[in-house]
Every structure is written in structure tokens, then in C-alpha cells.
Assembly symmetry: C2
Homo-oligomer: 504 residues x 2
């Protein structure tokens, strides 16, 4: 490695250390810290973030990036090398960071604090009017950010690109439209046959302390490496976080009367954690040591939660473990009963509680509303009406209150427009990746048939995880599956699975 | 507040944020992180420490301190104000930090890593020769540091002052000599009457999970505020740490066959934690938001562990709680039996396992050896002999191996000479402080008589805790008790307590 690159790497290592430090500060705030300590903790995070930002956008950093790029190009270093990937990533990141003015970041930070308070109160009181002025500001901030970042086709492209590099709004729209066209009739047909699936066994008394003893088994079953992580933490809004590939952690929540959140939440977060645990060792202490996008990250969590965790084969192999933990609740049920219960499809108001199929409709609604907001076609005050009519159009139901409608998510308290679509992209990527994996390595299907995820994890490690952020999603998915994101695998999967379950 | 001071405070807040961040990174490493994550965690700590150091010793910081001092003096700000105390502290700290060359810090850091490995191996193999060359380097580094820091009377003063500001070697020697003269005969007399106290009830099966349910009761009983802290953590070498006055945490260890470590360890660390929880709100995010010295900090932990936690009144009030947790182990014992057992005095080889009385002898030994090492009168290779003859002189026993002798502590792997004496200073301060507290407020004695530590905690809060690092130990102790450290309170206490127990 040349001299400039070496200097750059040292700076980058330090900046990345600081970033991981902010992750730990946040993780600890959610999992361990007393609420009394939260205010000062936020200041500590602010101080580290500020230093990190200053180091990232310094003139010196810009020069080092440029010189390193020249150095690597002169040496003919391969495009897919860690070095070239890192410099490519940094050059883009540096340019974007320099484009966003410091005063904008401060304005957003202040506005977000206020919006957050207003949103909490508005949701608690079912009073959208309280939140409306803050939403208007957040939309304006989103539009402003799009202008700083720049775009060729659609304004929304600039925002989407922050979360899903290389994907344009038109690409997402095409996939979403195709899947909507194919799955909306499926959902409607299922809705006529609600009596086919009974999920009442999931809603019983499941003592939390027993859930806590059994959840680690399922984290392990879908590939979590406890030696490169920690015991499951508890958090109100579960998440995974990592402080290095050797220390990726999971949080879960526990409902005393409903087994699903802990079980599928744990497997979901495990999917995220094994991505981080699997990033290549040579990427360590660089910003490449991380999942490449929100959408690809979500594909890993959804794969473990749904494609594996809600599969028939998995439960035929592992249900006995759950039965042993809860003999009086599940002793008289079969693995097949359980498999059916966890796959009940039913339109509902709340995104985070939605089933595998209707979930995507919740996302499509937000994707359409966000574009309209950013394009100036939808004003903050008109969001509730737009929300409700979209809900009726997509799922045939209208939320009785805004709290169960457009006030349900925290996301719009900040200008993070473009984030929501990645949740559904994750679902679609996950099936395409699993199909390719099975095709390329027959031992994967054989393993899954007996509840063994090790061959699948090995394929994901080699084709997705170890690359970290070296490649943008379209390039990575094409490398792994031979083509960019495609709607067909998901449609085929959904029709087969739910067609069989609901006898359609 | 003037303009310069305000600017200084902003910088200081950020530097202090970074320091607290390193504490959290360390706490998490000990309590949660997998061992696989330790190497990268150390780099993260290194990065934050380096940034913190750069900010602390910048020319800009030096100017701001000077200008702030002028500003405060012109305004006639009171000496005991937060502002004057902070500038006083920073001026001294800045001067010392600038005196120590960066290359020295790096050399020590590298040497310490190697010494640590060698010490572990030497201790495991009872082979002092492995550690000897590293100890020689550590001694040389201690001598070098003393020269950078400077001293008037004795070289050791410079090192001691790093841990106990305002105390000179001669001050410590005077107190230690007086206490040794008075307690050595006491220990010898007790040694003749070992059969007077039976501590076998402490050594039974005490299931760890039950210890874990009962320990929080005792943390609370000696004043821990769980709302400004967290659940007890588990650590191989227990410690307390704080990330703000609103978040001070305790760790404990659990022995399945011995109840004392968890019980008295918890009360010890609680004493440290309530000091940090009690620092004044106006000191927050400054280096004054911390116990003033290692010795005063230890006085708080020892007070809760020994003066309260090993007192007759405390156990007559709280023993039932322990009995309820362990009915088969303790059901047939009385509070008085337990009180006697936990106060058994018996010379032993290992400092951290020593009783209240012989503990000080272990410290005096180290204090004398350290002075000789720093003065050049004791070479590394001669340490084992010096250790063993001192042990015989002070406690009448000779360790059968160096592992149980001069290799038992980690401290000398780094040049932290001057630290050991603060452990015993803590014992002596604690009695002097408690005597003064009882004299000034009769409700303290009345409270303790029924196991209630609230009045004592209130007095400590007002006289010690809330001052943080505003005053050096001699000034603080004089403010609180009317005089600097004195040997008499401890001697009186020891003679009365152990004279009665052993019928002397």
C-alpha cells in the first residue's frame, strides 16, 4: 500500500472508531442506562459525533482521498480491492458531506427534537394538528436536503440514494407496482378465507423469564455467534448493533401474552447481526465494515425471520424446543399447527405488527406519500386524508384514528424520506437471494429441510456478508444472483406459500 | 461568567464527555463485551483517549486557562466557587500534562502491554525471573515520571501526588508509622486467640442466583440510588464506574462457596458509586465531577464496607434479610454470630483477601518497597527477598511462593507507584470522617444504631460528595473534620472493636 493510502487509512480507522463508539453509547442508552442519564448521554454522543464529522470533512481528508485515488490508479489496483472500494466510498461520502451545510445539520437537529415531542403528544392524544406544523418543516428539510445532494431524474432519488445506493425511484416503483399487482388479489382472496388459519395458540400466557431462556436457542438456530456478541438485551424498540465484527449484539422485547415478538424479533435481529459478524476482517475499522445498504441489511433480517423462521421445515425441526419450554401452552399443538398460526395473513392498521404479505402494502403506501410530499404535491395537513384513502385502496380498511394511521411511525419527525421503501426491498431481495443460493448449492435446501441454516449462512457469508460495503446493492445482488432486483421471486414465493396455506 | 471562562467551559465539557466515553467503553468491555472484541475495543479507547489528550494539551487550551484565571481574579470570584476551582484544577493538570513527553506515554504504553503478559505468566508459573526485567523497566519509568513532574523533598512525592494531591510522602509515613506501632501488637495478640472467632458460616454453599437477588438489597441499604445507576453487573475484578452523576454503576463477583465477596464487595463499590452520584450538579461535564482523590474515594467505599457493613448494629438490623434468602445456611445462626464471623482477623498472604486490620500492613509493606525502588535502593531482582522479610516483620508469615507474594498484584506492570498507599489512607480517613459526622449530627449515630444509613449519607453528601474535585484531600478533610489526616481515630476504633471481639 502506498504512503497516501496508508495515511488515509489511519485517519479512517480513527473516524470509524468514533462512529462505533457512538453506536455503543446508543446501545447502552437503550439497554442499560437509567432514564435520568439520557440527557447527558445525548451530549456525549453529540460531542463524539461532532469530532467525527470535523475529521471527516476536513480539507486534509479531501486531499488524502484524492491522492490515494491517484496512487491506487497509478498502481493499477483492482476495482474490487478493499483499497479501491474504500476510496470510492470515501470520495462519494466526502463530497456529499461537504455539500450539506453545517447550519442545515443544526437546524434539522433542533427541529427533530421538537418534532419528536410533538409527535409523541399528537399520537398519545390522537391529535394530528399538533404534529402537522412539524411535519411541514420536516418535509421542507427533506426537499432542501435533496437539493444539496442533487439528482438527475426525480427529487426523491437523492433521498432514496442515502439509504439504497444505486437504486432510483423509478426502479423501486417498477418492482413495487409489479408486486402490488400480483399480491393485492392474493391478499383479497385470503381475506375471504380468514377461518382457514387460527393463530390463537400464539396468544397465551408465556412467562417472560421462560421466553428469555429459550430465545437464545433460536438466535443460534439461525446463525448467531454468541462468542462474537453478547447475551440478548432488552429494548422497547428492538434493534441490532455492532461495535466490530467481533461484537455484534441483539436486543429483543418480551410480551407476556404473545410469543411472536420475542421469537421472530430475535430471529430478525439475528439476521442483521450475522451480517455484521460476517463482514471481512480486512475491512475492520473502516466504514466498509458494515452492511451495504438498509435494503440489503433488511434482506438478511427478513430472510431469517420469514423465509427461514416462518418456514414449515424450520418448525418441524425445532418446535419441540419451544414445546419443552412451554409444555402447558404448546404441549397439545403440532409443529404444523404452529407453522399455520405464525403465517396468518390479515390486513391491519399497524405496520410493525403486519404479516409477511400485507407488510409490503404498508410500505408502498408510505413510498407513494413520501414522493408526493417531496415533490410538493402533498401538504402536511392533507396527509391524514391521503393516508386513509390509500389504506382503503391497498388493504380495504380505514384506521379509526390517526394514531393508528399516519401518526404511528416516528420516521417523519426527521427528514429521513427514502428509508421506508428499504423495508420492502429487503423482503424482495431476500427471496431472490435465497432462490439463487439454493440453485448454486444444493446442500442449502437439504440443510433447511432439517432446520440446519449452516450451509445457507456459509453462502450468505461468501456472497453478501464478507463484502461489507464494498459494492452498491445493484452490483452486489447481480454478483450474487446474476441479475438486479426482480419482482418475480417474491411473487412466486408468496403465491406458493400462501396459496397452499389458504387453499387458493 | 466571563467570555473566556465560557469558551473554556465548552472545551472542558467536550473533553470531559470524551473521558466519560472511555469509562463506558471500559465498563462495557469488562461487563458485556466478548473477549474476541477486546482488541478492537482497546483501539477504540485509544482513539478517544488520543483525541482527548490532544484537546487537553493544545496551546489554545493553555491560553484559555490563563485568560480565564485573569478574568475570574479581576472579577473577584470566590476561591471556593466552581469557576475558580475548575481553573485551579485545569492549570495544574495542563502544566503536568505538558511536562510529560508524548514519547514517554507511548513507551510506557508499549512496556505495560509486555509487562502485563510477562506478569500473568510469571504469576501462573511462580517464576519471578520472567517478570524481573519488566519490573526493572517499570521502576525506571516511575523514576523518569517523577523527574518530569518534579518534587521538592522526596522523589516519591511526585508520584504520590498523582493519586493524593497535597499529601507528601512524609505525611503518609508519619500516619502509617503511628498506626503500625499501635496495631501491630494488637494483631499479634489476636493471633494468639484465633479460636475466639469462628467464620465457618461464611464458607457454605450460597447459590449464586440467590446472592444476585439479595445483593441489591444491601447496595440500597448503604445508599445506592438505582434510579441513577443500573442493575449490578458481574466482573472478574469488581469496580464502580460512572458516566455522569445520573449514571454510576457497580460490578460484583459471586463465589458459590463464600458469601463475603459479593456482600462486602457490593457495599464497597456502593461507597464509590454514591460518591459519584453525589457530586454537585453544577460540576457536571467538568473534571471536577469526580471524587477528589483515590484515598478519599477509598474512604467512602471502606466506610460502607467496613465501618457500616461490618458493624454490629447493621447486622442486627439487616441479618434477617440474609437469613430469609439462605434459610438452610444461616437459619440457625444469630446476627451476633454473623457479626463475629465477618470480623475475624488473621494474617494472610493475599492483600485483597485480608481483614480490616492486617490489610493496612499489606499496604505499608508496598509503600516501603515502592519508596526504595523509586529511590534506587531496591533493584527489581531483589524485590522477592525484600517482600518476604517485610512480610515476616509485619505479619509474622512468609509466603511459600512469589505468586502468593510479590507477584500477586498487577499494579507494578505500569509505573503507578504511589497508588497503593491510598488504599490504607482510605481506611484511616474513613474513621476520622465518621467520627466527625457523628459528633456534628447525633441523628447519624441514631440512624446507624437501627441500620439506617440515610443521615450518614446526607452528611457525606454535604461535606464530601457534592464538592467533587473542588478541593484537595487535606483541605477537604480539614473542612469536614477540623483537622488534616490523623492516625488517632483509626487506632481508637481498631482497639475498641477488636479488643472487645477478642476479649483483649
Amino acid at each position: 500500500m502506498g504512503n497516501h493510502f496508508q495515511q488515509l487509512l489511519e485517519k479512517v480507522n480513527e473516524i470509524h472508531d468514533l462512529e462505533k463508539v457512538t453506536w455503543l453509547l446508543s446501545w447502552d442508552r437503550e439497554v442499560n442506562a437509567p432514564s435520568a442519564g439520557a440527557a447527558i448521554r445525548s451530549k456525549q454522543i453529540g460531542t463524539v459525533s461532532k469530532l467525527m464529522h470535523e475529521l471527516s470533512v476536513s480539507d486534509e481528508m479531501g486531499e488524502l482521498i484524492e491522492r490515494s485515488a491517484d496512487e491506487l490508479n497509478s498502481a493499477g489496483t483492482d476495482r474490487s480491492s478493499m483499497e479501491q472500494s474504500l476510496v470510492r466510498f470515501l470520495a462519494r461520502d466526502y463530497k456529499e458531506n461537504r455539500r450539506i451545510p453545517t447550519d442545515y445539520v443544526q437546524r434539522v437537529s433542533i427541529a427533530q427534537g421538537k418534532a419528536n415531542e410533538a409527535w409523541k403528544s399528537a399520537r398519545a392524544n390522537n391529535n394530528f394538528a399538533e404534529f402537522a406544523p412539524h411535519l411541514a418543516i420536516s418535509i421542507a428539510h427533506g426537499q432542501e436536503k435533496a437539493e444539496y445532494l442533487g439528482y438527475e431524474d426525480e427529487k426523491y432519488d437523492a433521498l432514496l440514494s442515502q439509504f439504497e445506493r444505486g437504486m432510483k425511484t423509478a426502479d423501486v416503483r417498477r418492482v413495487f407496482d409489479a408486486i402490488r399487482a400480483e399480491t393485492a388479489p392474493l391478499i383479497a382472496a385470503i381475506n375471504e378465507r380468514q377461518d382457514k388459519v387460527d393463530d390463537s395458540i400464539l396468544h397465551q400466557d408465556f412467562p417472560v423469564e421462560i421466553q428469555q431462556t429459550v430465545a437464545p436457542y433460536f438466535a443460534k438456530a439461525v446463525g448467531y455467534n454468541f462468542d462474537h456478541g453478547a447475551e440478548l438485551g432488552t429494548a422497547a424498540h428492538p434493534f441490532a448493533s455492532s461495535f466490530s465484527r467481533y461484537d455484534a449484539r441483539i436486543t429483543t422485547r418480551w410480551y407476556a401474552n404473545f410469543i411472536s415478538p420475542a421469537l421472530f424479533g430475535t430471529m430478525h435481529e439475528t439476521g442483521h447481526a450475522i451480517y455484521e459478524q460476517g463482514t471481512g476482517a480486512e475491512l475492520e475499522r473502516t466504514p466498509l465494515a458494515r452492511g451495504t445498504s438498509m435494503g440489503i441489511h433488511e434482506s438478511q433480517s427478513r430472510m431469517m425471520e420469514n423465509l427461514v423462521g416462518r418456514s414449515r421445515a424450520f418448525w418441524h425441526a425445532h418446535f419441540h424446543k419451544l414445546q419443552e419450554a412451554f409444555p402447558s401452552q404448546l404441549g397439545s399443538s403440532s409443529a404444523e399447527d404452529f407453522y399455520r398460526a405464525i403465517n396468518k395473513v390479515s390486513p391491519s392498521f399497524i405496520r410493525v405488527e403486519a404479516d409477511e404479505l400485507t407488510y409490503n402494502m404498508h410500505i408502498m403506501l408510505r413510498f407513494e406519500l413520501e414522493q408526493a410530499m417531496i415533490n410538493g404535491d402533498l401538504k402536511a395537513e392533507d396527509v391524514p386524508d391521503a393516508w386513509n384513502s390509500k389504506m382503503e385502496e391497498l388493504l380495504g380498511i380505514i384506521p379509526p384514528t390517526d394514531s393508528q394511521g399516519c401518526l404511528q411511525d416516528i420516521h417523519w419527525t426527521r427528514p429521513s424520506y427514502g428509508y421506508f421503501p428499504t423495508y420492502a426491498l429487503g423482503n424482495f431481495y431476500s427471496v431472490q437471494l435465497l432462490d439463487a443460493a439454493k440453485e448454486q448449492d444444493p446442500s442449502i435446501e437439504a440443510g433447511l429441510a432439517k432446520g440446519d441454516t449452516a450451509p445457507l449462512k456459509a453462502w450468505l457469508g461468501k456472497n453478501i456478508h464478507e463484502h461489507g460495503k464494498k459494492f452498491d446493492p445493484p452490483e452486489l445482488v447481480t454478483m450474487a444472483t446474476g441479475r438486479p432486483l426482480d419482482h418475480e421471486p417474491f411473487v412466486r414465493y408468496a403465491k406458493a406459500k400462501f396459496g397452499e396455506l389458504y387453499e387458493l
